[in-house]
Symmetry: C2
Subunit: 486 residues, 2 copies
Amino acid sequence: MDAAEFRRRGKEMVDFVADYQENIEHRRVYPDVEPGYLRSMIPSEAPLEPESYEDVLRDVDRVIMPGVTHWLSPHFYAYYANSTSFPSILADLLSSGIGTIGFTWAANPACSELETVMLDWLGKMLQLPEDFLSETQGQGGGVIQGTASEATLMALLSARLKTVKCVQESDPQRSEADIISKLIAYTSEEAHSSVEKASIIGGVVIRMVPTDEHFSVRAETLEKMVAEDKATGYIPFFFCATLGTTPCCAFDKIDELGPICNAENIWMHIDAAYAGCAFICPEFRPLLNGVEFADSFSINPNKFLLVGFDCSAMWVKKSADLTRAFQMDPEYLKHEHQGSGLVKDYMHWGIPMARRFRSLKLWFVFRMYGLRGLQAFIRKHVELAKTFENLVRGDNNFEICAEVVMGLVCFRLKGSDELNKALLKQITRTGKIYLVPCKLRGRFVLRFVVCGRTTELRHIQEAWKHITELSSELLQNLFDHEGKEN
Amino acid sequence: MDAAEFRRRGKEMVDFVADYQENIEHRRVYPDVEPGYLRSMIPSEAPLEPESYEDVLRDVDRVIMPGVTHWLSPHFYAYYANSTSFPSILADLLSSGIGTIGFTWAANPACSELETVMLDWLGKMLQLPEDFLSETQGQGGGVIQGTASEATLMALLSARLKTVKCVQESDPQRSEADIISKLIAYTSEEAHSSVEKASIIGGVVIRMVPTDEHFSVRAETLEKMVAEDKATGYIPFFFCATLGTTPCCAFDKIDELGPICNAENIWMHIDAAYAGCAFICPEFRPLLNGVEFADSFSINPNKFLLVGFDCSAMWVKKSADLTRAFQMDPEYLKHEHQGSGLVKDYMHWGIPMARRFRSLKLWFVFRMYGLRGLQAFIRKHVELAKTFENLVRGDNNFEICAEVVMGLVCFRLKGSDELNKALLKQITRTGKIYLVPCKLRGRFVLRFVVCGRTTELRHIQEAWKHITELSSELLQNLFDHEGKEN
Ligand SMILES: Cc1ncc(COP(=O)(O)O)c(C=O)c1O
Ligand SMILES: Cc1ncc(COP(=O)(O)O)c(C=O)c1O
């Protein structure tokens, strides 16, 4: 395929994507396929000779589309969103077209520098303390990680190294392995599973901190655990706070937790993957008070800021904590400005060395929406969630299970877990809308997240109507069944 | 931006990318910018109100392009390539357009299943042993990692867990931390820095294995080191072999190393990031003999198979080794087919949980080129490298520093490292072609990698002409200078 054919095929693909998104709501949001459906639909080996592009595109419709869970559908209410938008898709296309792999400044100065400035832009939109910004020429700065999981892992690994060095300063004989074996990380029992995964990768113990009645970690609980662990010879070194937990969007009280972490030399990382995006709205910003105590902080613009996956923005107060963990400089990666302090070699800031030109997505989206446009987008989603909450509250068969702060509503049928599991099974089977559950205080709960960029009031109303129809059937069956039994 | 505007802007962007690639050879391949050039060219804050798309696109030309290192230029001979192509860019656009985040099968069945089948296709193209394939319904299978670094890290972490479990079986009292403190990993002194990075993340000691005169790790060297380490109470657990090292594309002798690893219970991972792609050509496949002894194996289609970054293909013989390391199943990620053995939840196969729909890139590229087309592409690059080698050999001022097997030629001016550094500096300053150096046996060497999809004979000839012109000047200056001194 040469450039001329690419022009033609590329334009067709743009139309394909536009058609897909314009008509997406007429598709079954959760696919009706059985495990293994795809293998039998395509050959078992790659072709020897080139095929026609028409055949490939036809197969996208024939083979791929029937098996897709349509994340961009307004009927998609699961997980947290892939909050993408057309400007983001355009920027991503540009990134693919430039085809750069930006590990060092020299590998692509524009890629390194735009990333630095975009993280400053976003940091200011969030009103982060100056020590997290690069423009102040201090020790802090921002970086794009692929996912929140990687941001958390980087924070934990940096904290591990920092603590090892610190302990060895007062006790030079003590081996790294011995110190690591005594390290303890903490996070909320409500934290995302990626925090536990990071601890396993880092080879350190993690303790889950119980939450209060609002599913928030409180200072005294953490304080007590830290004291206990220190008393038995352990070294508390890392606390991952969550702002906007995955199950129910709860908020740890970082303004009271931060001072404890600082006093105890515990690295505080804040994982605000979803909810952190909303802090660009002044009315939500108070939830971030206390960020000044944090060592690192991350949000996923791909969850709630109209930027397509993958894009997790992370800021650190002392970037050297991150970079010195992995400072490796083989000859083939050296360049003349390295170590000058003037440039950022982002390969030292993350797990993978190589990286796409992802800051373009931020640049395009920030400029095409403007801060006000992004705020309006967030507020609209929060409002739609409130609407759904009110619908649930208006129905006596249902209950709301956690405070609705942003775009997530946790609810359930009053009754057993089995009943709620049966309801969710029906919802998934029917495939008209898609939601996933969570556990709250051991109970099975349904999560309804306003996800789609194009979700409107009518979708919310339809979704609720659909849920209540299915639940009525279920309750009727149950009633009939119980009637028969009596 | 609505779908209608996206249709228009998307088509313009397709033309922008096509124009960029068609005219790329007229651009200075290595940019002429100073550190910090970009910050002063754009505002220091995001706009409040939306801007016009024209302005954004204009700024791509004004702000971004002058600072780009043009990886897709035929004058780019650095690192290893981002081996992208138009079909790959189209597939990536489709992936952005679908906007899926495929962590579990349920999150997108098509994404999970196409990945499985594409890794089988590619595995067969490479003639991998059946135990690495999924279709045999054995324990093996393939996965797409973002980068080779992540593949190596996953292999090391899986080996770590496996060894801990194994030691604890015979010695249940021994703590995980104590075992990990005794683990030793091995890799070539010529291995990529990502292997050392993986060992640091995993918190294990790594030893660099000296190479023979061909820069290859040999069995007896490894054997001796393993014996020494065992004698002092250490536990050898992981060996990362390289096929196609980064400095000079050397090949470890895996057919003699494999049996040792198997006998010693050492996990053998093969990092064939670049060179592994060439094993789809029968004439190169013998270099992979011995893969049957490996536990895991990875290649980067984004380095030499016309697939755009990011895409690293990894196969394991026992996928449970990988997945059980991080089997975490919060309620919100459960689904009905989980654990049935019928589906793959790739979130357990890698570091990040969430992932793009990357198998589309493989599918499009394999079908649009066919195996023969891909082979032809690789052979052409190897031939061009041979041509360059011959040009170097024909010039008495230069020497070839390592055997030329694929698309990389290591060469230098006969003379001091300073002389060669001066030459490279001139090349980089002039910006007509771009190369990076390496160290071989302590000497400073220039690497010339045929990278571009559109690199032709004339580019190679021009590049050589340019290099010899610059070196003649240098040598002349040196001569004049020495003349004056005498
Ligand atoms: C609070 C929180 N943290 C982390 C994650 C994981 O994000 P990622 O997929 O970017 O690793 C999620 C995902 O929903 C989340 O809700
Ligand atoms: C042999 C080898 N392994 C690993 C890598 C790193 O690849 P990635 O950027 O995909 O992590 C490279 C990069 O050139 C390489 O040559």
